[in-house]
């Protein structure tokens, strides 16, 4: 039996935690004093001192790792031997010699392509219904938010089980349809061709969730008088939706779309808990994890991570560019 003393497991971390916290506090005080001593204005000195923890974090946990991972992406590095510069070999391998990479890239992009629009439209639909004059709004809102409160792991396992081919709930509910059409029950996550729809269906469950609440809050923010004006002009429901609600809601929709894209391109935990056939590929983040921490290909994994970063930036930029055409900021044109 392995003995693990309390100190080794928790005590040392607790001590480090207290020491680092105290050290950061102390350095804030010292920075403040030093700046004041050098004749900096009091307000300025205090300001810098207060944001110091974040500034340190920016340097240590973001800028330095950022530069290091760019460097690593041009090397071969397995941790045990020093990193070896190999130029663009990792990128060449990624695009020309790695079938898993292409499969995973395809799966990840297709997932976002379906998940983001469907999720946003679904959430918008639910939010529009909730925005009517209905009784017990708080109760409905609570119910629809439940799936988002559940731990991702629980959701992933639940759907893996519900979509189980031979004894899952979904195939049970669909069995009359299978019988009527005289077809084999679908194999969902275990069928390479159905992996994508299965993940999209699971993702749709989160429609009832954060996005609905966010869009509902956006809807409540649309000034009432705009609808009154539209009523005076004889607008019908559809026209009010098209010319008042959607434009006024567009900044919120924009936020939901952007965060949705960023999140869906980075899905990890669900993909890790649900085994899928190798032929279907996997999600990019899981691929990066495997390359880095199972095969110790730190250089190659960094290259994929950089590719993913550029992909996310390009797509986000595209959405930002397009936003000029469809996002309406009220304050902007006054």
């Amino acid at each position: 039996m392995i003995e693990l003393s309390f100190w080794d497991a928790y005590g040392s971390t607790l001590l480090h935690w207290i020491l680092v916290g105290a050290a950061i506090g102390l350095s804030m005080v010292l920075l403040n004093r030093a700046l004041v001593a050098f004749g900096v204005k009091r307000e300025t000195a205090t300001g810098y001192a207060l944001v110091l923890p974040w500034l340190l974090g920016l340097g240590i946990w973001i800028l330095y790792p950022f530069a290091r991972s760019l460097y690593l992406s041009f090397t071969q590095y397995n941790i045990l031997q020093p990193a070896q510069w190999i130029g663009t070999d990792n990128y060449v391998k990624m695009f020309t010699g790695d079938k898993q990479f292409w499969l995973s890239l395809r799966l990840t992009i297709l997932y976002s392509l379906f998940n983001v629009p469907l999720g946003t439209l679904g959430a918008l639909g639910v939010a529009l219904i909730l925005n009517r004059d209905i009784k017990g709004i708080g109760v409905w809102r609570t119910i629809y938010y439940l799936p988002a409160v559940l731990p991702v792991v629980a959701v992933a396992l639940l759907w893996r089980w519900m979509l189980s081919p031979s004894s899952g709930l979904i195939n049970f509910l669909l069995s009359p349809i299978y019988a009527a059409l005289d077809m084999e029950p679908l194999a969902w996550f275990t069928d390479p061709d159905l992996v994508l729809p299965s993940f999209v269906i699971m993702g749709m469950w989160g429609v009832f969730g954060a996005n609905t609440i966010i869009l509902l809050a956006g809807l409540k923010n649309v000034p009432r008088h705009l609808y009154d004006v539209a009523d005076l002009d004889g607008a019908n429901q559809g026209q009010k939706l098209r010319y008042v609600t959607i434009p006024m809601l567009s900044p919120t929709l924009f936020y939901v779309v952007i965060t949705g894209i960023i999140a869906s391109l980075q899905i990890f935990t669900q993909a890790f808990f649900i085994e899928i056939p190798r032929r279907a590929g996997t999600f990019l983040n899981v691929l990066i994890y495997r390359e880095a921490f199972q095969f110790r290909h730190m250089g190659y994994a960094s290259a994929i991570a950089w590719f993913q970063l550029i992909l996310i930036l390009l797509i986000t930029l595209l959405v930002f560019k397009s936003s000029a055409a469809w996002v309406y900021y009220e304050g902007e044109r006054r």
Binding site: Y10, T13, W17, W61, W140, P151, I214, A217, M298
Partner: protein, 301 residues
């Protein structure tokens, strides 16, 4: 009298009849959507109370008979069997240890930094703030490998340090943004009065700002607790010793240790219920704060 001509092509219901119809459709949809939420949830709980034979019963048994309450004990006995000395309480303690240390550090660090951004003018503040917003868009995986290498150089792999100590450095950009937005809504008069009374910055922060920002701190605390409780990637990468596993990683380890022929879905669902329970309790107690936490930034822009 209005001069508007009555339109002839519209159905000749009264307004109230039409309203009743739309109301019925609205509530019918609301109930249908609730079923989409509740049926899977019910299925999760029902599965967790079934015996292994009942799992594969066809047609599906909605209400297990007999109800296997002992599944919960058995599931955690099975979970503990993945390593000698591992118990349910140990796993729970690991999870709470990580969650509480990370949460405390993040709340303190975030409120301090946000206070700086919200209330003090200094050269470069706006540029730094924009940089901070930009870091929210960075995929975390890009810094993951070098960060792992930093902890490896410090010889702190397989400790809780990477999951807790690092949070002191400002915490998440989103949290700082959230806190700053909240602090901006607090009027300055109280602080100014305190400063005139001779309070220093630390006193203003701890005696005036923190109490006034309590709702925001609670909202953040709830979301940060949820995030750490559910965090899988961090513990997966940094922890190797089974005895240090939090709940999620132990579940993954257990899932990997059972064969495909006997997936033990009743145990997996029991563990999922246990894992979801604290979050659900907090959610019902502090719902307002959950919702507040979600909507900042999205609506106010």
């Amino acid at each position: 009298m209005t001069t508007t001509p009555v339109s002839v092509d519209k159905p000749r219901f009264g307004v109230s009849a039409r309203r009743t119809v739309t109301n019925i459709i609205t509530y019918a949809l609301l109930i249908l959507f609730s079923l989409f939420v509740f049926v899977p949830l019910f299925y999760m709980i029902s599965t967790s109370l079934k015996s292994e034979q009942q799992l594969f019963a066809w047609p599906i048994q909605w209400i297990p008979d007999p109800i296997m309450w002992q599944n919960y004990g058995d599931a955690f006995a099975a979970l503990s069997s993945i390593a000698p000395g591992l118990t349910f309480w140990r796993i729970l303690f690991n999870t709470l240890f990580i969650t509480l240390l990370a949460m405390t550090a993040e709340l303190i660090a975030v409120s301090v930094v946000a206070y700086g951004f919200a209330r003090f003018r200094f050269p470069g503040r706006n540029i730094l703030f924009i940089i901070m917003l930009a870091t929210m868009m960075l995929p975390s995986i890009i810094t993951l490998i070098p960060t792992f290498l930093i902890w490896r150089n410090l010889d702190l792999i397989d400790t809780f340090d990477p999951l807790t100590v690092r949070i002191w450095f400002g915490g998440g950009a989103w949290a700082i943004f959230f806190m700053r937005q909240y602090l901006l809504t607090i009027p300055r008069e109280m602080e100014e009065a305190a400063i005139i009374d001779g309070a220093n910055t630390f006193q203003v922060y701890s005696r005036i700002m923190l109490p006034l920002a309590r709702p925001a701190l609670l909202a953040l605390g709830v979301l940060i607790f949820q995030g750490n409780w559910n965090n899988f990637e961090g513990p997966l990468i940094y922890l190797n010793t089974t005895l240090k596993f939090p709940l999620v990683v132990a579940m993954k380890f257990f899932q990997g240790s059972i064969s495909n022929e006997a997936p033990k879905w009743h145990y997996m669902m029991a563990m999922s219920v246990v894992m979801a329970a604290p979050i659900l309790v907090i959610f019902f107690l502090a719902q307002r704060y959950f919702i507040e936490g979600l909507t900042v930034g999205a609506v106010k822009g």
